[in-house]
Structure formats: C-alpha cells, structure tokens
C-alpha cells in the first residue's frame, strides 16, 4: 500500500526474471501464462490484499485464489518476495520432494496458499464459498480470484457466476486474465469466448475492461464502486508472455522451457544485473 507504481514496475521486472530463470532450471512450463497475469498479482499483493506473512492463517485475512493454477510459478515468487517463506527456498523448485511443483499444493503444505488449483474451474466456486462464509460469520475480509480466459471454458465458472449474482455477493472480485490464448489455440476460436465482457454483464456482474499490465488502470478498476452493489469482474486484457519480447503473444511458450541463453536474453530485456542471473554451474533438472 506504500509502493509507487514505479516500485511495482521494478518488483514486476524482478519477478518476471526469476520466473523465467526458475522455469529454465526446473523445466517448469506455462511461462506465457505466468507472465500474462504477473502484473495483476503484483498489484494485489503489494497494493490490495490485507495479509500478514507472519500470521498467514489469520482468520481476518483477505483471500486470494489463483484459479489458473498453472501460473503457480509466479505465485510462489510473489509469496516468497512478500515474506511467506524465504526466497532461497525456491532454489529447490522441482527437486524430488520439493513443495514447489507445477501447481499450488493444498494450503497446509505452504503458507500463503488458499487453494490447490490446477484443475481449471475450481477457484471461483471455492472463492464464492469463502466470501459467503465471511458474510455468514460476520467477517470483513474480501476474496479475490484470478481466472484464465481458457478456464472460462469450464461450466463450473458459469455455475458460480450465476450463484454469485443470485446471492448478491459483493465482497468478491474476479479477474479474467484475458491473454486471448489457451493451451492449443485462440480462446475466442476454441469455444467462442467473445464477447467476454458482455457475457459477464449478462450474468449480472459489474464489468470493467482494462489493460491488465497498466497499474493505474488496475487501480481504478479495483477501486471503482458499483452503485447497484453487483459483484465485480475485471476483464484484464493481457499479453501472453508479457515482458520478454520473444515470448510475447507466442503460444509456444505455453509449454516451452527457455534455454540458458534465452534466460540471459530475457535478463537483458528486463534490466536485470548480470550478477543476479546465476546460471553458471547449474544444470536444468529434467523430469524425463
């Protein structure tokens, strides 16, 4: 809450780099999906969420669910940087027995995790349950959920969207990371997602469509009040692979793992000091 947008940009650049480097070292995929939602996570974790890393299970904490669980590599970097566990722990990423894999583990295995996502379409119903629990118990926390656009293929997303509207739950904010791609094709072509904003609007939601990499736009959408008390969805137009020129809008990076040279190239683009690259003597851990 004290950071300037300039600070947020610096944090985002560093976390982008660490995510790329870790992908190389641990052979963890989904880099494109990670980089498209990274700015949303940085904004939430440094500007919005009322959380205390030293008291991670505090009952009054805001809840955040990364429903697109395949972007867990970013979530892990964010949680480490926010102090839920040491940044150095991530050097074990992908090693046998490590808690850091391709998706978030169940909450009891890692501080800061609210839901073990990865199977798509689970995060919004669970977030709705958390928000309803707040209402029933008279608690004042808010719940935030990030969905992917491909995830909106799942019927359970729309089941939840209907129920959120029926129950008039307005302590819940949903983001759709609309990077226009899903695993194997354009999200507007695979299942006809467009017009996405109109769909949410028809479901009774207050819809904000923004540039998901623009902190002031995110800020305005998050702060906006809806006079009708409707639940809020922020359709964040994003770029898959954002921040690394050769990954941007190239869906091969849904699965591709960067080489050491590509990590160094990304470091240059992200203005990372050479001493932070730290690849020498480290070999990627393949799981083949």
């Amino acid at each position: 809450m004290i950071e300037s947008f300039q600070d947020l940009h610096r944090i985002a650049r560093e976390l982008r780099f660490r995510t790329v480097r870790t992908s190389h070292l641990s052979c963890t995929p989904h880099l494109g999906s990670c980089l498209s939602c990274l700015d949303l996570l940085v904004y939430l974790y440094w500007q919005v969420l009322r959380i205390d890393p030293s008291n991670a299970r505090d009952q009054g904490r805001d809840r955040f669910i990364l429903s697109k669980g395949h972007a867990a590599p970013v979530l892990f970097q964010v949680l480490a940087e926010r102090g839920f566990f040491p940044v150095e722990d991530l050097e074990d990423y992908g090693k046998d027995g490590s808690v850091f894999g391709e998706h978030p583990p169940a909450p009891k295995y890692l501080p800061g995790i609210e839901a073990a996502t990865g199977s798509l379409g689970h995060g919004l119903p669970m977030g709705l349950g958390m928000a309803l629990a707040a209402r029933i118990r008279g608690a004042h926390y808010r719940t935030y959920v990030i969905l992917s656009d491909g995830e909106c293929n799942e019927g359970s997303v729309w089941e939840a969207a209907l129920m959120v509207a029926a129950q008039k739950v307005n302590s819940l904010t949903v983001f759709v990371d609309y990077n226009k791609w899903q695993a194997t094709g354009r999200s507007n072509e695979v299942l006809g997602l467009a017009p996405l904003a109109a769909k949410w609007s028809a479901f009774g939601w207050s819809v904000h469509e923004i540039d998901g990499h623009d902190f002031s736009a995110i800020d305005a959408a998050v702060s906006a009040k809806d006079e009708l008390g409707r639940p809020k969805v922020i359709i964040a137009n994003t770029v898959k692979g954002k921040g690394v020129s050769f990954m941007e809008d190239d869906n091969n990076w849904h699965y591709r793992i960067p080489s050491a040279d590509e990590v160094r190239k990304a470091a240059t683009e992200l203005q990372i000091s050479p001493e932070l690259i730290r690849l020498d003597g480290l070999a990627p851990r393949t799981h083949e």
Binding site: M126, L128, G129, L132, R135
Partner: protein
C-alpha cells in the same frame, strides 16, 4: 430418513452456528423449519452441483461446517472432481449427503440409482463413507461426523424406512452394530438393505439356521476390529449391500479377510455389473439385483450346504 435428516440438521444447526445446509434445489418444503429458524444457515445452490461442492469446500476452509444435500448421483459422481480436489485434498470438513441412494429411487431409473458411490469414493484419500440404515442410525452418525473435521460422505435412503434399533444401541463410527447373535452364519448388512438382512435372519431361523446379524454404517474406514472378531467366531459370512459388487463393501471385506487369513468363507452380495433399466419398486429392483431377503437366504443355504 429424509425427514429425520431435515429434523436432525435443524436441531444441530440451532446449537452449532457453523452448520450451513447447501441444497441442490431439492427437498421442497423439507427445510422450511431450518429456513425459518435461521435463514443464513440454508442456501439453495440451484442445479449446479460442481459449484455447490466447491462452495462447500470454500466455506469449510473458512470455519463453517457445510452439509451438501441432493439426490445421490448428483452429489457424488456429478461433482466427483470437486469432491476429490476441493474437499478431500484440502481436508475440508464438508459433509456430503446423498438422498435416495442405492435403489431407493428404483422407479426413476438408472440416472437416479447410485450403485458406484462406495467404490468411487473409497479410492479417494481422506474420505470417510457412512451408510446408516434407519432414522436413528442416521441421526447418530450425523452427530458424530460433526465432532471431527474429516471429510464425510453419508448416503441415506428416502422416507418410510422402519427403525431397526433405538439410537442408544447404534455403535460409533468405525464399529459394527450387532443386532442378533447366532452360530451358523454372520450376515453383515450395510445401509438401508439391513431390513432385508433382518427378514432373511427370521426366515433362516424358521429353517433352523441361527444367524448373527451385524449392521454396518461405516464403509470407510472399514470396521476391521469387529470384522476380525466375526472371522474368529464364524465360519461363514455373507455381506449384503445395495451397491455394485465391484469394489464395494463386500469386496473390501473379502480383501481384508484374505489379508488377515480368514479360514472360513465370505460371500458378498451386491448388484451385478449392469444397469437396472426396468421400471418398478425398490423391492422389485432388489429382487432383480439379488440382494433381497430371499437372495440372502439362498446365499446362506448355499454356503452352509457346500462348506468346502
């Protein structure tokens, strides 16, 4: 059982404000008392079971004790992944209640039968599976299930089941309840099909065969200590369940018997590997499936007459 469930939930909810009943748009008027007593403790989640189960998990992870309620296939197989991931993996203390289970809704056809629920949910870690046989046993296991935070599935019947035993006689979760003791054979019945076992034991008595009748409301964890005792005191055992023979209660018992070296013979009765597509009553369906009292009597006589 349905009415007893609604009554019990209403009473428990008055004392425990963490309880929330989530209904899948079913039970018209069944929960009117609960809704009048405490409107926030009842939510109709609509015909959207996958969402309902995820909502239940989110609530359970936030300090509530949600109970989901709808017709069995819809609160089990319809939302199986939400049970596996959101409830079981998260160890979320959700109580999943399936009504009209087994062949209770025989006349509604295979879409509304549930003959696979034990098998499927047994394979999911952290799940507890309960199948009470009458209203008192249902009240008993529901109260007990709320005492700890184990994700629990309770399969119940419909309405009109005759009470078998008063609630004080019902054993705790994980134990068998002995109804009568005999020497020739032990019949272990799980869930509402217990009534068929009771009738079978009476028929056997008139044939001069004395049977132990044990009722099981706990499918998982398997009541191993009590089964072991039956293995020690009986040479012949018949299990009966209103569930597929595949990976049900009987097969769990068989596998346990083999593991502990039971020297006698155990014969599981259950529904064969087919959809019961003909219309008819629950009694007719049980006859077709070979799990009614006559089938139990036949199975016992077969075991005893060919002991090797």
């Amino acid at each position: 059982m349905r009415n007893a469930f609604a009554d019990e939930v209403t009473q428990l909810a008055a004392k425990d404000l963490r309880i929330v009943l989530l209904s899948g748009d079913i039970g018209n008027r069944l929960f009117d008392r609960l809704r009048a007593q405490s409107p926030t403790q009842f939510i109709n989640c609509g015909v959207a079971e996958a969402n309902m189960m995820g909502v239940a998990a989110g609530m359970a992870l936030s300090g509530l004790r949600p109970i989901t309620y709808t017709i069995t296939p819809f609160t089990t197989t319809r939302c199986l992944e939400q049970i596996r991931v959101d409830v079981a993996y998260h160890e979320a203390p959700v109580i999943i209640v399936g009504t009209g289970s087994g062949l209770s809704y025989a006349s509604l056809g295979p879409t509304h039968h549930s003959l696979e629920d034990f098998a499927i949910l047994r394979a999911i870690p952290n799940m507890r599976i309960l199948a009470p046989w009458d209203a008192p046993s249902l009240r008993h296991v529901l109260r007990q299930a709320l005492l700890d935070a184990t994700p629990t599935y309770i399969r119940i019947g419909k309405k009109g089941e005759k009470d078998v035993l008063p609630i004080e006689k019902v054993s705790t979760i994980g134990r068998l309840t002995t109804l009568s003791s005999g020497e020739s054979v032990a019949i272990v019945a799980v869930g509402t099909v217990a009534s068929e076992a009771v009738r079978a034991a009476e028929a056997l008595k008139s044939l001069g065969v004395s049977a132990t009748v044990s009722l099981a409301h706990t499918v998982k964890p398997l009541p191993e200590a009590d089964l072991r005792e039956l293995f020690q005191t009986h040479r012949f055992i018949v299990t009966v369940e209103e569930h597929s023979l595949a990976a049900g209660f009987g097969e769990s018992c068989l596998s346990f018997a083999q593991r502990v070296g039971f020297a006698g013979r155990l014969r599981p009765l259950g529904v064969p590997d087919l959809f019961l597509s003909k219309a008819g009553s629950q009694h007719y369906a049980r006859q077709q499936a070979g799990i009614d009292s006559t089938a139990i009597v036949e199975a016992v006589r077969g075991l005893i007459s060919k002991p090797s």
